[in-house]
Amino acid sequence: MSAKRNRIISFFIVIAIFTIISSNSFSYDYLTPTVITKKYTIVPFYNSIDNLLKDCNSLGFDMQDAKVEYKQGCFVLENADFIFSISDEGFINYVSKSIKWFNIDDAKVSIADDDIYHSAYNILSALNVDIDDIGYSSVLRIHGQAFSTTNWEPVGPLMTTGFVFTAERQLDGILAYDSLAKIAFNADGELIDFSLNWPVVEAVLSEKIYLLPENVLKLEATDIISKLGDEAAFVDGTLAIIAIVIDGGNSELAIQYVYHFKTSNESFIKMGKLDPKL
């Protein structure tokens, strides 16, 4: 009976020690740099006419009388209505030749932001963009105003000429700033322009990437600030966000440290690329 009681006491002692160790290790993790355990690589893109035609078909473009040529590192499909191209890096560019911009009174615009989101998401889906990968998106109006040059007073009402949809990619909840979709519509909601850099990526391995300690970060921040000259006086710098950046040109992955600087009269963010510490 005594031995059994001792075993029970020993069990609780072990549990207590484990709890203490766990709690210490949590504190240790809190004090040491953050760890990222996932890496992504870009799947190599092989440019071809087939890609171009497939995307055109998906988008429902009328390719009548279109000619295709390869120039300046791009396959380009062009007819009287539009130019559509895919570069060897996988960048997609479309511009309409027939749909025009025009300005109307901003108060009389009938197209809603939701209409623009709907149209934009349809285009992205046709181009095989996984909508779940979109971490940030927005629709902004393109505003315009006429002025008298005599006194720079506005002439006529504030105008709208169109809308711009922007989407940024996220991977595991972290924005990948080099992946970008932009789509422009005129004030009637007609598609005029889009550009898409949204490479296919895959997670390849788990790896611990230790971020720099805060004191090192501050040294880096001070260095960046010194290069800015009179633009800002460094007051404080902290690591605000960690972003994964996909470098499409080199098909490499880098870690981008984003510093949040506070100056004597404003707060702003600067980005600086550093080598990941493995």
Binding site: I83, V95, N103, H143, S148, T149, N151, D178, I269
Partner: protein, 313 residues
């Protein structure tokens, strides 16, 4: 003898190559300094890549050069282009109407379309704010800065740009530089279009149709190469003013945005709107050259929120 003969026969092609190079160089120099009223379309790129230590710091901005090259390479598919790495000195952008040493007619204004890429900032004098851009120092103009707009006695900036007044006839100017089209503090008129009667300053618009610039801080390091290339491609099929705003603006959510603004001026607001909505690189002759215009139009992305400037309305 054999070796001497070999030397001679090798020397002759060498001389020929030298002669051909000299002729080609002379011809290209002639083209470079020729004015653009000779029937062919041309585009010029002026990038400040490295500058004098006495102008504050030595820097080597390959990002600027890369961005500009993407634009000029795309333009080259449609017209003759000239690229000037580290080519931005005061006389090249200053009009001889303003100063006798100004030679813009043979450089910046020698092209139908020009692009400037350099650093820029807000210059304040007598409580008035305007944009000034960094350039290489020159003996006849000791300042490292150039300002297109108003001048003030006793200050080292001058009103140096008078764009499009001659047969050289630049019609579109892109200025990728921080604050070059600053929406607030009256900086757009102070920089490009100041003509209040009591001051009698002339407009920088002396026949040019549109100028495109940036509100707040702009970035070359964050993916601007592709937008520059697409601007150089799409501007032949679509409105240049809108392409500038679409390609060079970038909404980054919780990060500072890049905010592009296009400015067009003409004799009526309707004509200025026509330039904004319809002028392409290849149809500029559809739009009149108006000196000292009465109306301007600007376009921008609403809510764009850059570094070092308030968000656009």
């Amino acid at each position: 003898m054999t070796s001497a003969c070999s030397m001679y026969s090798g020397f002759k092609p060498f001389i020929r190559i030298i002669l051909i190079s000299v002729i080609l160089f002379a011809f290209s120099s002639f083209l470079f300094f020729a004015k653009a009223d000779d029937g062919y379309l041309s585009a010029g790129l002026f990038v400040l890549d490295t500058w004098d230590a006495s102008c504050g710091q030595i820097a080597h901005d390959t990002d600027n050069w890369e961005a500009g090259k993407h634009w000029s390479d795309a333009m080259a598919a449609h017209c003759q282009t000239y690229t000037n790495l580290n080519g931005l000195i005061a006389s090249w952008a200053t009009d001889n109407y303003r100063y006798t040493w100004g030679d813009a007619d043979n450089h910046l204004e020698a092209f139908d379309i020009s692009m400037i890429i350099t650093h820029g900032g807000v210059y304040t004098a007598n409580g008035t704010h305007r944009w000034a851009m960094l350039m290489q120092r020159e003996t006849h103009d000791d300042s490292c800065l150039l300002c297109p707009g108003m001048s003030f006695p006793g200050h080292d900036l001058h009103d140096q740009m008078f764009l499009g007044e001659t047969a050289s006839d630049i019609e579109i100017l892109h200025v990728f530089s921080c604050h070059s089209m600053e929406y607030y503090m009256n900086m757009i008129p102070n920089t490009w279009q100041y003509k209040a009667a009591e001051n009698n300053y002339r407009s920088a618009f002396a026949g040019i149709h549109q100028i495109n610039g940036m509100h707040g801080v702009s970035h070359t390091e964050n993916g601007v190469n592709t937008p520059m290339r697409d601007l150089g491609s799409n501007g032949w099929s679509n409105s240049v003013a809108h392409q500038w705003v679409f390609q060079l603006s970038r909404n980054r959510g919780d990060h500072p945005d890049d905010c592009a603004i296009s400015l067009a001026c003409s004799d009526t607001s309707t004509h200025a709107w026509n330039v904004i909505n319809y002028e392409q690189y290849d149809n500029r002759s559809n739009y009149p050259d108006i000196a000292d215009p009465d109306f301007c139009v600007i376009i921008w992305q609403s809510g764009c929120d850059p570094d070092s400037a308030p968000a656009l309305p």
